[in-house]
Symmetry: C2
Subunit: 475 residues, 2 copies
């Protein structure tokens, strides 16, 4: 195994290079290289960008050269998007030019399952072995770091955030980032590392666990060549910040699919689950759960226990929420007599209820009631977490009577919830037109109110948070 970066500075340069060269970039937008050059322009990358192509053509005002070694200035980082057979010579050029890091997007290496692919991968590792060059990939998307102006897709936002993502799959990296963005979650650093021929995910975890820009680490992993190094990195990182994992290949069929995807040895599902649990990382099972859980770590305050105080505007949905909560290991305590009495001062129209779940029914019209209800639940010692379930469909229909009712309610809810010391979670289901719902969700998320589309997804996310904090307190 190759030596690690000798300093944090060298690792930093992967995310904050001063100059980059894109091999395979030209003015032709059909070329993969061009599609990797344009994101740097879109992100406003501040350093020099060079386009490397056979005709030394400039591309989108970036100076063109036919070889990396022809570039006059220094190059920190290279992205390679040309057929695999050309790659050994490019790696040699990177070594000769003292490049710090190279991303190999191209596939056709060990993941192909062919002897040729395996040998080609061995060759590029051998060529770089005695140099400072670190290889990311091959068969990967590479690096996205908004604060460094680095990106691998031109639809990723310039806006950064507190989440880092390490993904063995480029596709999962893209899907995860975009899914997270839709939930107002933004990224500090993303690295898609593919076949992991040189730079290993455990090194990245270690780096990110000390990264001030990052408060939560997400990782999609299919397999690893060194389980004990990975476990050790995961353990150390989990003590410092939450690590949320999505493991690809936790069944035989999934493992088989992994083999033809990144060629990793994904191993036995049971072993992996045990290892992950032992490490203190949180295992999730779908992209949605992966993102939901990260959102929870970002916005939900650590709960002190599993006692929910629920506020609903619909009796039936309050019943359903209670059922789901109990089935998932939460409690729905009875409120104290005094809290019920105080709730009854405001929540007393026909059809309302002041038990847990509180059924506000039509009293949501009095938007000041939200604050009163939340404050009572905040007062009640039996309640650890406050959940609000909002049915937009009961509100939009009253637009005729109070045209801006939904805005009034959203701001009343936000104001009420944000004043609480206890953790709170909002559930805003996909009942009505997605565009209206989306607007309200964005408003809530922008105000740092953790908002989920279904009851189950909210509860699973809270559960994951609690497991993490319980584990950390024990260690």
């Amino acid at each position: 195994m190759k030596a690690k970066f000798s300093s944090k500075d060298e690792f930093d340069k992967i995310f904050f290079p001063r100059s980059v060269a894109i091999v395979g970039a030209s003015e032709n937008i059909l070329k993969a290289g061009t599609r990797f050059l344009k994101p740097f322009l879109k992100m406003g990358f501040k350093g020099d960008i060079y386009a490397i192509n056979p005709n030394a053509e400039s591309a989108f005002n970036c100076q063109g050269y036919s070889k990396i070694t022809d570039v006059p200035g220094h190059i920190d980082h290279v992205v390679v998007c040309v057929p695999s057979m050309h790659i050994p010579s490019i790696i040699q050029q990177c070594v000769d030019k003292s490049v710090n890091s190279v991303v190999i997007f191209s596939s056709g290496f060990s993941e192909s399952g062919t002897e040729d692919g395996r040998l080609l991968e061995e060759e590029i590792v051998r060529l770089s072995r005695d140099s400072h060059l670190r290889i990311i990939g091959p068969n990967c998307m590479g690096v996205y770091c908004p604060s460094g102006g680095v990106s691998f897709r031109d639809d990723l936002p310039e806006r950064g955030g507190p989440v880092a993502l390490i993904s063995q799959s480029g596709g999962v990296a893209i899907t995860t980032v975009l899914t997270a963005n839709e939930r107002n979650l933004y990224f500090s650093k993303v690295i898609s590392y593919g076949n992991e021929c040189d730079l290993r995910s455990s090194e990245v975890i270690e780096y990110l666990s000390d990264d001030d820009e990052t408060s939560i680490i997400m990782q999609y992993i299919e397999g690893t060549k060194d389980g004990s190094e990975f476990l050790s990195a995961l353990k150390k990182a989990s003590l410092k910040k939450p690590v949320v994992l999505l493991k690809g290949g936790v069944t035989d069929a999934g493992t088989r699919a992994v083999t033809s995807h990144t060629g990793a040895l994904s191993g036995m599902a049971e072993t992996w689950s045990a290892v992950i649990q032992q490490s203190g990382a949180i295992q999730t099972y779908s992209v949605e759960e992966f993102v939901d859980t990260t959102l929870a770590f970002n916005l939900i305050k650590p709960p002190q226990g599993r006692n929910l105080g629920v506020v609903s505007v619909s009796g039936g949905l309050g019943v359903n929420l209670s059922d789901l909560a109990i089935r998932m290991g939460f409690n729905m305590p009875e409120f104290s007599a005094d809290v019920k009495k105080q709730l009854g001062r405001f929540i007393n129209a026909p059809g309302t209820g002041v038990h847990n779940p509180v059924d506000m029914a039509v009293t949501f019209f009095g938007t000041e009631n939200f604050k009163h209800v939340y404050n009572q639940l905040e007062r009640d010692d039996s309640v650890d977490i406050i959940l609000m379930h909002l049915c937009m469909e009961y509100i939009v229909r009253f637009k005729e009577i109070i045209p801006n009712l939904d805005e009034l309610i959203v701001s009343a809810i936000a104001e009420g919830l944000l004043a609480l010391k206890k953790p709170f979670v909002m559930i805003l289901p996909h009942t009505i037109q997605d565009d209206k719902r989306k607007k309200v969700e964005n408003q809530l998320l922008e105000q740092k109110i953790p908002t989920y589309p279904t009851i189950e997804r909210a509860l699973i996310s809270i559960n994951h948070c609690m497991s993490y904090y319980e584990m950390r307190d024990k260690r």
Copy 2:
């Protein structure tokens, strides 16, 4: 217990009345009665509509009277939205006027938990006992039947469909209808029956099981006064068409919430689950699952087994789909050697894979490839159900190269899937902007392609379908 309707005609009149009177309706849009009158106008109700209010004011061109008995013509159906204390006298008027059915929206009856409420409910039952009048409610939304021009909310669509819904909760009825509409599912008949003081849900199930407009029955139930009658109706109906249930109060906390909601005796969770399973109905646990499952019964052909053939455009997400499928009891068979060979003729670019799941990767650009892939999976005897997982985020970014790529892909997928004899399901996750995704989802659903937002929700729905067909084949 009161006698049932003596003929189907009388039951029909609940959904297809020739004339209706709304008690509490006026020109004042703040009045609940007015909010129940306007939906009839919006639906283009063809018969006479009367507004009953103390001043005999007309409302929105509907003739006003101060009493039901003052109306000169016959009245089939009455909706009552006035405080509960006035209701006995209105019921007496309905009896005197030989009204067929009355919906009591008002609450303040047995669900209130008070002795007064209980007595008031007893009184209205007593007043109507010897008449033909059937009472729906109290504490309910009543009836929605697009083909009859009847509705209880002015945002419910005029478009009808094959689904019937019986709901003890008015709120759940509204939420379910609107959630279903968003998924292109429309309704034949909806009845929200609240406290069930007279018309019982078992009678409605029996009626709907013979209703030609209805091919799937949904029911939200919190409790019932006659379990054996309910079970018997459910059993008979399940043999004729799928019955999808959402039971409110399957835990102690849920049961407690039910008590303050409709006052029903929701009973022990275990008993209920056993009863439901025994009946052949399908039990679901959230509004989303309730609607997802109904969508499956509406659009997925009965599968012959649990062997999935999966097509994906992302390796990593194909891996995740395989994992989730196996964990949920499905199989991911190996394709036959010949099918793999034939797949390889089209799906052969770097990064693609012709195992199960098929990873089309960039070959989705050749939109004709979708049809080739589906046809191979149709040919393979080991495959029972074809699943397509589409990541819109890989497609939208190529708009620069092929501006109408997403339209081309959607029509290629639709054309390919609709030509299949085997059942197929589409998964279209919420990764990118909801409005773009929604447009594509609508296009697919309009073409009768069952489309789900997450892998889990698709698989749970398929599972429910299979359980139903297996049960029915056994009986």
